[in-house]
């Protein structure tokens, strides 16, 4: 369980903004600004945050669909950020992705059978016969019928299409699947079906998932651990139970207080944040949340907080907690406050 399959270290992705005919760089959108995390074998890591905080960019960088600006992405100890394109192509067998929009992620000109068999053909897995058989198996596994192979995507509903996307990702027996908001385009009832399908598949094939979403209840349902992102950085990373029960970062606290509770009698302590998310082109100095943080200190304006363990397996990046701990523990600045 604790053996890591993917380790992301100091990943940075800037999208340059260019101007004029000479494409002079005039700035950069800091989509991911130095994030690090680990995914263990067989677990599901949820990645949450609001729109534009860099969740999907992270997923796409891990698959090298986007080239990371810098940083390391260690997959089973191999740095995939440094592979050339043909080496990367071979590695894609082990890392697959399920896309957000099931209407956009299937080529309208291919039959379902061709589509699901395509990854196997690309990697030369099996003969035509075994591929066909596997396609039919996969369709049954994801809850469709084997006679669907000769149909085209437009003949299916959104939920069915997402199942096709899942079958395509599964066809090459990947070790890690990046789920990029796989249910946000679906109806709530279908969402549950697809999520449960993913859970079942994970159990059956011992898959590791990176589950990107903005729906906190969905993430809670499927994840073992959850990372909260804000403006290109991870602000908190913890076991889902601890995080949902007791979020420590002020941003997470505000975020989790926004989860609707289906009980009108219950009084909620809703934390409302002021203002908008700052532009990732010119993020605030120091802790990039300080402009909206109700507990901002002086130090937050100047110094970037570091993501570190404040409780067992509960990583938070906040000066507030640091200073609290310093107050409790004494004066030693360098000692890492573990098991506080």
């Amino acid at each position: 369980m604790s053996e890591s399959i993917l380790e992301v270290k100091n990943l940075i992705k800037y999208f340059p903004i260019t101007k004029g005919i000479l494409s002079k760089p005039v700035g950069a959108v800091k989509a991911i600004d130095d994030i690090s995390f680990t995914i263990n074998k067989g677990e599901t890591l949820g990645l949450v945050g609001e729109s534009g905080c860099g969740k999907s960019t992270t997923g796409r960088c891990i698959l090298r669909l986007l080239e990371p600006t810098s940083g390391q992405i260690l997959f089973n100890g191999q740095d995939i950020a440094k592979l050339d394109s043909s080496e990367m192509r071979l590695l894609r067998k082990d890392i697959q992705i399920i896309f957000q929009d099931p209407y956009a992620s299937l080529n309208p000109r291919l039959t379902i059978g061709d589509m699901i068999a395509e990854p196997m053909r690309n990697f030369g897995i099996g003969t035509r016969k075994t591929q066909e058989k596997r396609v039919q198996e996969l369709l049954e596994i994801v809850g469709l019928s084997s006679y669907h192979t000769s149909r085209y995507p437009h003949e299916f509903s959104g939920g069915q299409r997402q199942r096709i996307g899942i079958a395509r990702a599964l066809s090459v027996n990947p070790k890690l699947i990046v789920c990029d908001e796989p249910v946000s385009a679906l109806d709530v009832s279908i969402q549950a079906q697809v999520i449960n399908l993913l859970k079942d598949l994970q159990k059956e094939f011992s898959l590791t998932l990176l589950f990107i979403a903005h729906d906190l209840s969905v993430v809670k349902h499927i994840s073992n651990r959850v990372a909260v992102m804000y403006l290109g950085r991870i602000v908190e990373l913890a076991d889902y139970k601890n995080l949902y029960k007791e979020p420590m970062h002020p941003y997470s606290q505000a975020l989790f207080s926004a989860i609707p509770i289906p009980n009108p009698g219950l009084k909620k302590n809703r934390i409302l944040l002021e203002g908008d998310v700052p532009s990732p082109i010119n993020p605030p100095s120091g802790c990039n949340f300080h402009t909206r943080c109700p507990q901002a200190l002086d130090i937050c304006r100047h110094e970037k907080p570091v993501l570190k363990e404040h409780k067992t397996k509960h990583l938070v990046s906040c000066h507030n907690l640091d200073s609290e701990q310093r107050r409790c523990k004494g004066t030693d600045k360098t000692s890492l406050p573990i098991n506080y």
């Binding site: 896309f99 992620s105 299937l106 080529n107 309208p108 000109r109 039959t111 690309n122 085209y152 395509r168």
Partner: protein, 303 residues
């Protein structure tokens, strides 16, 4: 429908089962249905149908020899023997027009084929790879577009020497920019779709992505452009022939027929009028069908 399947399976050939062909491509079935409802497009299709019919069966349809006339019958007005009259050398205008249909079809198909092949290649390279390849190709295309088409075609034929074959090559080259630009534009938009990203994620090579995922989804505008360009290509080739740089006498090419007979406009107007009408109707037919196809393929006009 079949061509689409062919392109789809181009990289990994596989036998087409009957079942697959039956259900193939809802888009194309819808398009055909909508096209059938469009009366003007159907009219265009009928004209083109007649043209192709004449082209194929010319030897059986033409009542007289198109290249050798009876000198005693020259400049005869339309009559029972010569339905559309005869020209200055006594050749039957109707027979020449019927035989000319084949030449026009050839010109249209071959020159558009040249433009389509080269233009699509350039457009795909430019749109898919971008960066300096894009800049290089598109500037070249801009230079070509800066010349008036007929002038550029004239220059090319002058270099290659006047003949029907060279006229087709010239018209083909002149039409490359249109295809390059239209293909580049659709490749640019298709390239950004999630299914192309997905194809990268499942380990497709660039060639597989282009032929399996990008090009089949760019077909609609390419087909429309090809249909419309056949019309203009025939017109341009007729123009070159009129100037004596295309088809050489006694070939019954419509543009050349106009040029041969223009001196006798007063004495024998039929020998000028009918080839001109044939050109006009053909170009009209291709334009109407092309416009109809464009409307039928546009999903925004659905229902």
């Amino acid at each position: 429908m079949k061509t689409i399947k062919d392109i789809n399976t181009g990289t990994t050939p596989q036998p087409l089962t009957d079942e697959k062909l039956e259900i193939a491509g809802g888009l194309w079935q819808d398009t055909f249905k909508r096209l059938k409802k469009n009366k003007i497009a159907v009219f265009g299709a009928i004209i083109i149908g007649i043209l192709f019919f004449c082209a194929i069966f010319a030897p059986f349809l033409a009542p007289h020899d198109p290249e050798n006339g009876l000198l005693k019958d020259r400049q005869q007005p339309p009559s029972e023997k010569y339905l559309l009259g005869t020209d200055s050398q006594g050749r039957d205008v109707l027979s020449r027009i019927i035989h000319g249909a084949g030449i026009s079809v050839q010109i249209g198909v071959i020159s558009v084929g040249i433009a389509l092949l080269i233009g699509t290649t350039l457009g795909v390279l430019s749109g898919y790879y971008g960066r300096w390849i894009d800049v290089g190709i598109m500037r070249l295309v801009d230079i070509m577009l800066a010349f008036p088409t007929i002038l550029l075609a004239l220059a090319i034929v002058t270099v290659l020497g006047p003949s029907l074959k060279n006229a087709m090559i010239a018209v083909g080259i002149v039409n490359i920019p249109r295809f390059a630009r239209i293909v580049r534009a659709s490749v640019l938009s298709v390239k950004e779709t999630e299914y192309v990203e997905a194809s990268k994620a499942i380990g497709c090579t660039d060639m597989q992505i282009i032929f399996r995922h990008v090009l089949p989804n760019c077909l609609a505008p390419i087909i429309v452009q090809a249909t419309l360009t056949i019309g203009t290509a025939i017109l341009e080739a007729a123009g070159l022939s009129f100037l004596g740089l295309g088809a050489q006498p006694p070939m019954p090419e419509w543009g050349a027929m106009l040029a041969d007979s223009r001196g006798y406009l007063r004495q024998a107007p039929w020998s000028v009028m009918y080839p001109g009408l044939a050109i006009m109707l053909t170009v009209l037919g291709f334009n109407l069908l092309g416009d109809g196809l464009r409307d039928a393929l546009d999903p925004r006009l659905k229902e």
